[in-house]
């Protein structure tokens, strides 16, 4: 068995847990469970955005021993609803990765687009690209295709699969769609079952 990229023991936050997880490099853990079972809380605890009990390690390095900004750049949470603050898309990116943009169906001139004209699906895809900029070692995806049609859902699934293969990143993927988790996940975690 390969060593885990991200590992957590006794993780507890609100109604969540305690849960133990371990995700090996290049693999994906699919998380499902009813509303209120703590799927989003799990991701937020892994990203250290909420106070939580339990220990988390990235490549053997403890979360508590890593500066929070470094941790979140390496273990990056992508919220279900992406939030934007500047006027145009490009202002949220340092140097757009043209090939990843093309994989999700965006031409370079999209950088000049105004945020307020984006559809929710475009925002969701761009939110993922924004999170990939820092080349995180662990991606925490909360319903990453909830606003997407089938074509774009497939594009996102393929992009994440390529990213895992290229970088050895581990992925924790929350979805309410069992068929999607069958496609993308190597292991499954069901929350909220007594």
């Amino acid at each position: 068995m390969s060593p885990s990229r991200i590992r957590a023991t006794g993780l507890r936050s609100g109604p969540l847990g305690p849960v133990d997880i371990a995700v090996a490099a290049g693999t994906c853990l699919g998380v499902s469970g009813p509303s209120g079972s703590g799927k989003s809380l799990l991701l937020r605890a892994l990203a250290d955005l909420d106070p939580h009990d339990g220990e988390v390690w990235l490549d053997g390095l403890a979360q508590a021993a890593t500066p929070p900004t470094d941790w979140r750049r390496r273990v990056t949470w992508v919220a279900a609803e992406s939030v934007w603050w500047a006027d145009t898309v490009g202002e949220h990116f340092r140097a757009p990765d043209q090939s990843a943009w093309a994989d999700l169906g965006f031409a370079p001139e999209v950088a000049g687009w105004e945020i307020r004209r984006l559809s929710s699906g475009e925002k969701q895809r761009l939110g993922l690209l924004r999170a990939l900029q820092s080349r995180p070692a662990v991606l925490l995806l909360d319903e990453p295709t909830s606003a997407l049609d089938r074509v774009n859902t497939e594009r996102v699934e393929a992009l994440i699969a390529d990213y895992r293969a290229d970088t050895g990143a581990a992925v924790v993927w929350v979805s309410h769609d069992p068929a999607q988790l069958d496609r993308v996940a190597d292991a499954r975690l069901l929350l909220g079952e007594a």
Partner: protein, 266 residues
């Protein structure tokens, strides 16, 4: 030069204007008549009391008494700052942050002014110290209250944005920068506006009062300029400190946004 004394009849006539306004407002079914009248009564009672206190203070020149009055003014200003915030910090700092910021900035600026610039004899002479402190506290109070209210409301409203920025690896300072800047802008805008409009649009109250009291206009103007500068320094330093400290309190040692450290909206 002497002041023309105001008779009780003069004040009664002015009060009748306010009562007439309240009547008109009440007739229009606006919920403003009560607060207007209560505020008017408060003005008369509070100023009457402070007049008595100042008479005693000016004749006694007792430093302990002066310090007590100063502390009382600070305590009330601290309470005002707290009560003007829709969401304030829980626990001691809900009251403490504004009060400490005003103590440092208003008292600091007032003591510096008395010791170095105005130099009355003794330096704590209440004719100078109390009005100076009163004007500083009154203005820094407004600035700090506006700044803190804008900060806590902003952090509350912009929580998704701030957490997204944190998730992308920004520090708490970067993630909260827009909200903090907005808070400081609202704290400083009133004094910037009144400095910009002074003498052109408005004749500031202190200067008007001195001229009515018989001071030569140029002397009154110099005091007014001094006062404006002191108010902007006091408000600016106080608001900077209060906003920065409160923002820091709303993030923890892991730079997580901790909005549960704010009270529910009142």
């Amino acid at each position: 030069m002497h002041v023309i004394p105001l008779s009780p009849l003069d004040l009664t006539l002015a009060a009748l204007l306010v009562v007439a306004l309240a009547g008109l407002v009440w007739a229009q079914r606006l919920e403003l008549a009560r607060p207007l009248l209560i505020a008017a009564v408060r003005t008369a009672v509070q100023l009457g009391l402070i007049g008595l206190v100042l008479e005693v203070l000016f004749s006694s020149m007792n430093p302990t008494l002066i310090a007590l009055v100063a502390m009382f003014m600070l305590a009330v200003a601290g309470y005002e700052v707290m009560s003007r915030q829709q969401r304030r910090l829980v626990g001691f700092w809900g009251y403490g942050v504004g009060t400490v910021a005003m103590f440092v900035s208003s008292f600091g600026v007032a003591v510096l002014t008395l010791l170095v610039m105005v130099q009355p004899e003794p330096w704590y002479a209440p004719q100078y110290a109390i009005p100076l402190l009163g004007m500083l506290l009154g203005n820094t109070m407004t600035g700090i209250a506006l700044g803190l209210d804008r900060l806590t409301q902003g952090l509350w409203r912009e929580r998704p944005q701030i957490e997204t920025r944190l998730a992308l690896g920004e520090s708490w300072l970067e993630a909260s920068a827009a909200v903090r800047h907005e808070a400081l802008r609202s704290a400083l805008t009133p004094i910037i506006n009144s400095m910009a409009a002074a003498g052109v649009v408005s004749l500031p109250g202190m200067m008007t009062g001195q001229i009515l009291g018989g001071s030569p206009p140029m002397e009154a103007v110099k005091y007014q300029i001094l006062m404006m500068f002191l108010i902007s320094a006091g408000t600016g330093f106080g608001a900077l400190g209060a906003v920065q400290f409160s923002a820091r309190r709303l993030f923890d040692e892991r730079q997580r946004l901790r909005l549960e450290r704010l009270r529910a909206k009142v």
